[in-house]
Symmetry: C2
Subunit: 555 residues, 2 copies
């Protein structure tokens, strides 16, 4: 083997591959570890009761002295939402643009760790050192301002991470992606490109965010009654356009929803939103205006049951109730998994008789580039190696095919899973052994105390409920002192199933009597006899398998 | 008011409006009630543990002597899947085409009621009397052969139900929709049209099923290794084309999955499928052939966790394990709500390294007509009144807008919910009072014994689990005899939460002691004190709200 003349570079994902969400990538240059993003993910349907999911960072805590910093690409939750949890374990400097850090500050304040964290503002022109490695940036366009791609400069070439991007030729803030700089980075030599795969399955080019502005303005112009608009709070460009459309329509804007208020206040304070004076009114003031003078901007675009929009539709919101004269614009698309709940809120609005404007055609555009844009990025960067990231496996594979299409050899493209490490020496890549990775589930205040066993129990409970069997035995006399009492929850209607439960009772009595006659005295055997006998009986009678919890006491 | 010179007609839906699934409609002509379809629906995410959902037919059981028959439009589950449950309560003659009744027979046999039910075969040319009302039919095209629309002839004009339809100009079986007959029915006068709203939001025309055949044949031709194809078992036209493509490719076809085997055997027996001799091989024979000689046709197009395809992908299927040399064609689209599970199976196949062909473009077409076809149906039937049916509320509303577009006055279009009755006298419609309607949930063998309370409990249990608190009190001495013992399931990892549970234990002890000092002796008060105190404490410590089940015994 040839002698190693260059540094050893290792690239891996702790989250964001094989899934949509919780983006977190690691780049090691010899001893230094640089982290890119620290996002959260919303739980899958089978993670019952879980609030959010963050990456497992145990590899970083093991290597804590090597971790030199966390660089952020932009301020969306799937890139910054895990930060406050991660920093509690790995407190290193955080680098990000002004708006990104503005949003981060708020999170750290809530978590009570703002003072102990070093936040370092960068912009697209910055060139900094993290550890001993130079890191530079390039401006990209997405659905929030102040996005950057990251270029980690090594002697083998650059490691480039695109962040989330599309090539928006008419961005809302007029700041186009810096294609020249990207070409320049490509020209100097990119060893490895990590690029956003979200829309790798979509042919063509993603619509410009500005076209959505035209669509929204158009609906505003045609609408005579009150307007209610919902979008992602984090889509600052969209909010920008809703503000402009409101001003053009000579209406006032009232804002509903904690996250919407928070993002707008931060973005306004930092100069990313400049709502005209007196345009935004307090929610308590809406009654001073006629419906045709109002726009209500609210959270709830995903049909979340407790969101402001859903409550307005159900008549359960304190200030606003949607009626048949309202027009509701859903300026967002359903995130995979949310289709049913979005559909349910649209149906609810239709039932009320409100006019509903939805569907991506006019009032929504994706923030992620489609196939032509992904190929453009690949052609600008001309990387030797390519890692499709930020997407489910099928999106990564679709992106791989695009890479092959523009001439990258298949063997230089790595579709990686979480924890897989690609190691570079002398400009040659190879798969190295994995680092620990996984999901950390957050439920309430508990971080990581919900795992497979707890989830398995929740799943069992959710399917057929539970039966608790309480009985007191007198082992000396070999008799049942009291019980068995059977209490069920989530199994059957008790009133309509008296016979079933009486039979169950008798069965348990017989099982226990038999056990005692046969001198079975181990607690665990008694319990498993009850559990198995009762389970079999109930399955025969009902084809259900409730969890059975025998509680046997002794006097 | 003018004297009633005509019969009283009432039209209502017991299922199929405001939802996708469990289609069931009622048409009353004076004293006779004619039922159209009796479908099932798969449960929503919040119907935990429920297997299937059928319409509440209590209105029909109340009026049982008036119900004269059930007419079926076609053999899909959302139109015939509830039949065996309904017939147990309302045993009336069932009318359907040959294939439809072939599929029904199988269901009734399974339910053990085949002998007691009168099945009457009709075809598109039939004109029958149900009760004293003439009923005729017209041929439509959809994704299964032998579909009909239904025309109930009254002195006020016809009540027409389209069934599921598209206008497929090149249907797989060569049997086009009978547009002439539809025009004729329209010409004679349609009082009220009930028409399929599924694709009312989609502009244009739905692709012909035959084009899918071309797409599938194309993939077959290009593929060198083994082919695995999945589709809905009930999509007989699709299966037809897969059989033809297999023959053209000189491969053998092995069939996997109970429902796939059942549908193919019925359709073949009745002459709707005519697989070439020796084309279909037994699954146990696959090892006699090389991969490039095989097509495996399987269930599992919705990514169901226990389906054959998912098991093949996980290596958990007895005969077939998918490998990196296989090509998998998913010739179906995800039903709303199934996006995540379909996506998961595609990801699993990609991880294996298999070639995956999916996405509706080439290998799938909808069975339901788009906007242009829905307008064509409206223009053929030229109904005085129009009920958009078969769809969620937003689809019904989109269909309403199409109706307005072709000139039906808005006030003659009724977007109805389940149970709403539209009553016609002297060719005038009005909304009448509702009939009972709703969901009957089927869980295992239980029909209707799972309702709101049981589901609420399952939801609570699924979110944060359960804590059972067992304690024995001596009321005479006012002391705790034994316990409290706290057992938790689905709440926290017990090993990592010892302190939390110990504290909970102490808290319950204190609550009970206090109760006894204060002479609180009502069981219910004791229990609610424990429940509330413990719940508050756990919420403070964990921000979770497990179900708490206090079991207090007395010696």
């Amino acid at each position: 083997m040839s002698k190693q003349i260059t540094e050893k570079i290792r690239v891996f994902a702790l989250g964001g591959v094989g899934e949509i969400g919780k983006n977190m990538y690691g780049v090691e240059v010899d001893e230094d570890i640089i982290i890119i993003d620290a996002g959260l993910m919303f739980p899958d349907d089978d993670m019952l009761g879980v609030d959010i999911v963050i990456p497992d960072v145990s590899y970083l805590t093991e290597q804590i002295e090597r971790v030199k910093g966390i660089v952020l690409t932009h301020g969306h939750e799937d890139h910054i939402g895990g930060l406050s949890y991660v920093l509690k374990k790995v407190n290193v400097p955080v680098y990000g643009t002004k708006l990104t850090l503005g949003l981060v500050e708020e999170k750290l304040k809530e978590a009570g760790i703002l003072r102990s964290v070093k936040l370092k503002t960068i912009d697209a022109k910055s060139r900094i050192k993290i550890g001993s490695t130079p890191v530079s940036f390039f401006r990209t366009s997405h659905s929030i301002p102040d996005c950057v791609g990251i270029c980690i400069e090594t002697s083998q070439g650059s490691i480039v991470h695109t962040g989330d991007f599309k090539f928006d030729q008419t961005p809302v803030d007029g700041k186009q992606a810096d294609i020249g700089k990207m070409a320049n980075i490509g020209h100097k030599g990119v060893l490895c490109l990590l690029s956003d795969s979200t829309n790798a399955e979509r042919p063509g080019t993603t619509k410009s965010e500005s076209e959505v502005g035209v669509g929204i303005t158009d609906v505003f112009r045609k609408t005579e009654g009150r307007l209610i608009v919902t979008s992602f709070a984090s889509n600052v460009h969209r909010i920008h356009q809703i503000i402009e459309a409101t001003a053009k329509a000579n209406r006032k804007l009232a804002i509903v929803g904690k996250s919407m208020l928070r993002v707008i206040s931060i973005a306004t304070r930092l100069g990313y939103l400049e709502p005209p004076k007196d345009l935004i009114i307090d929610l308590d003031e809406v009654n001073k205006y006629k419906p045709e003078q109002l726009v209500i901007l609210t959270t709830g675009s995903q049909g979340e049951p407790m969101s402001a929009l859903t409550r307005m539709a159900k008549g359960a919101h304190r200030q606003i109730t949607i009626n048949a004269y309202d027009t509701v614009i859903i300026a967002a698309s359903a995130i995979p998994g949310n289709e049913k709940s979005v559909s349910a809120v649209i149906d609810k609005l239709h039932r009320i008789g409100a006019e509903v404007v939805y569907g991506s055609s006019k009032v929504h555009a994706s923030g992620h580039g489609s196939q032509e844009e992904l190929k453009l990025m690949l052609n600008l960067m001309r990387p030797k190696y390519f890692l499709p990231i930020h997407g489910e496996v099928r999106m990564q594979h679709a992106h791989r095919n695009l890479g092959i299409g523009v001439g990258i050899p298949d063997e230089n493209i790595f579709v990686v899973e979480k924890g897989e490490v690609i190691e570079f020496t002398n400009k040659q890549a190879r798969r190295a052994s994995k680092v620990p990775s996984g999901n950390v589930l957050i439920d309430g205040l508990g971080v990581g105390d919900v795992g497979n066993i707890v989830l398995r129990d929740r799943r069992l409970l959710s399917k057929d409920g539970i039966l608790v069997v309480v009985v007191t035995l007198n082992k000396k006399t070999g008799t049942i002192e009291s019980g068995p009492n059977i209490i069920s929850r989530g199994f059957v209607y008790v009133r309509e199933s008296e016979q079933l439960l009486e039979d169950a009772n008798e069965l348990v009595t017989n099982i226990l009597k038999k056990c005692m006659t046969e001198k079975v005295s181990e607690w665990s055997s008694l319990k498993s006899n009850v559990r198995e006998g009762l389970s079999r009986h109930l399955y025969e009678k009902t084809k259900r398998r409730p969890m059975i919890l025998p509680i046997i006491m002794e006097v």
